[in-house]
Symmetry: C2
Subunit: 231 residues, 2 copies
């Protein structure tokens, strides 16, 4: 910790000084009953790497995080949430003062329609869980986007990666999207590396080779900064 | 690690030497698609504490574990699984040579009837997931139980704790069950303590105050040993 702190103090590149960066990370959890829940494989590593690098580069960073096993990066203000609704409320509340918003969390799109108050006893019959749509955080952020604010999304897909990502940039009013193919070795949720394609609102498509999530964090922040300055 | 190893070597109480102990721990995960899954709040701490104490007391310990963030206890052979079906197969395969079986895992009782090959795209309509029953590991262990083998179950409940636990001892041919009330502060999945009631096949009911999971592990092993010796 002391070494990281020193490196940060000594770091010459404080190019995000004075910028407010809001990052979301991790999965969310949706309760079925007091014991069981629906979640996903997101580790939070990508979002935490972005928060860490943004703080190291001098930004004021707020990290809204679902449940992960990661330590809070140095200099980052972290707010913990469990459900997508909680993340929605927290993010919308803090979005107004953000210059750059990077939504890397993999939130649950659906939640059980009702949450059982007591643990559901197993029986011999098959059952079904009715699911209802959660609010779309990224779409809402696109709708309330302020002039000059930079909005970055992620797309983790297993098929039709580029088409899905392009459509998401338009539908959600994003500046750019970071798309990754979950079926590729070295990409996705669990590891320390990712393999991505970045697609921006001008239609530019840039492929990147497998790299460390911290290096990718800097590439994403570089691109966000260049758009922020241009506007 | 070196200190623990030394303590173990110096430990005078090797009362489980020569015994084979099979412990299950943690949650299981049931995939909905490549990204989403159903799981539960089990941390694995109770089962890992039992495995650790059994090994420290000289037993040969096999730990069949769902996904947890815990290190493997010293001297314990650990086999990792994800789904309830995987745990069922692993446990049944290794049950024959076990003198004592302690099933502390909180396995998923249900799994999605079908697992989507690709990530399910979210739409605007509500959906439902059809669930089907998983095999009942504890019930099967009770059916194939050998003479002299000691079988211990757990019951994590939010209501009718004692009645449910008593019925489970009978239905599943257990020697005893460790029941805990998830609604109590200091009991259940996440913390380092538990508050339990132990109910055995003779109908004896013993309540315990809040205690460290490692101390409770020794109480469970003491009771299992006393039954093993009696038979």
């Amino acid at each position: 910790v002391i070494v990281s702190e020193l490196l940060k103090l000594l770091s010459p590149n404080k190019d995000l000084q004075g910028k407010n960066v809001l990052v979301t990370a991790g999965p969310t959890r949706e309760a079925i009953d007091p014991v069981r829940f629906i979640t996903n494989h997101s580790s939070g590593k990508m979002g935490y790497a972005i928060a860490e690098r943004a703080a190291a580069r001098g930004a004021e960073v707020m990290l809204v995080s679902g449940p992960t096993n990661l330590p809070t990066p140095i200099g980052v203000k972290r707010l913990d949430v469990n459900t997508t609704n909680e993340m929605y409320n927290m993010v919308i509340e803090h979005s107004d003062k953000a210059d750059i918003i990077i939504k890397s969390a993999a939130v649950a799109d659906y939640r059980p329609e009702t949450v059982a108050e007591n643990k559901i006893k197993k029986g011999d019959v098959d059952i079904a869980i009715s699911l209802t749509r959660n609010p779309d955080i990224l779409k809402k952020l696109g709708e309330i986007k302020k002039d000059g604010q930079v909005l970055v999304g992620f797309a983790a897909e297993t098929q039709d990666i580029i088409e899905n990502a392009k459509s998401k940039v338009e539908r959600k009013n994003l500046d750019f999207i970071v798309a990754n193919d979950l079926t590729k070795d070295g990409a996705g949720f669990k590891g320390d590396t990712n393999i991505v394609t970045i697609i921006d609102s001008t239609g530019d498509v840039q492929h990147y080779e497998k790299m460390d999530k911290k290096d990718l964090a800097d590439i994403i922040l570089d691109k966000a900064k260049s758009i922020y300055i241009k506007e």
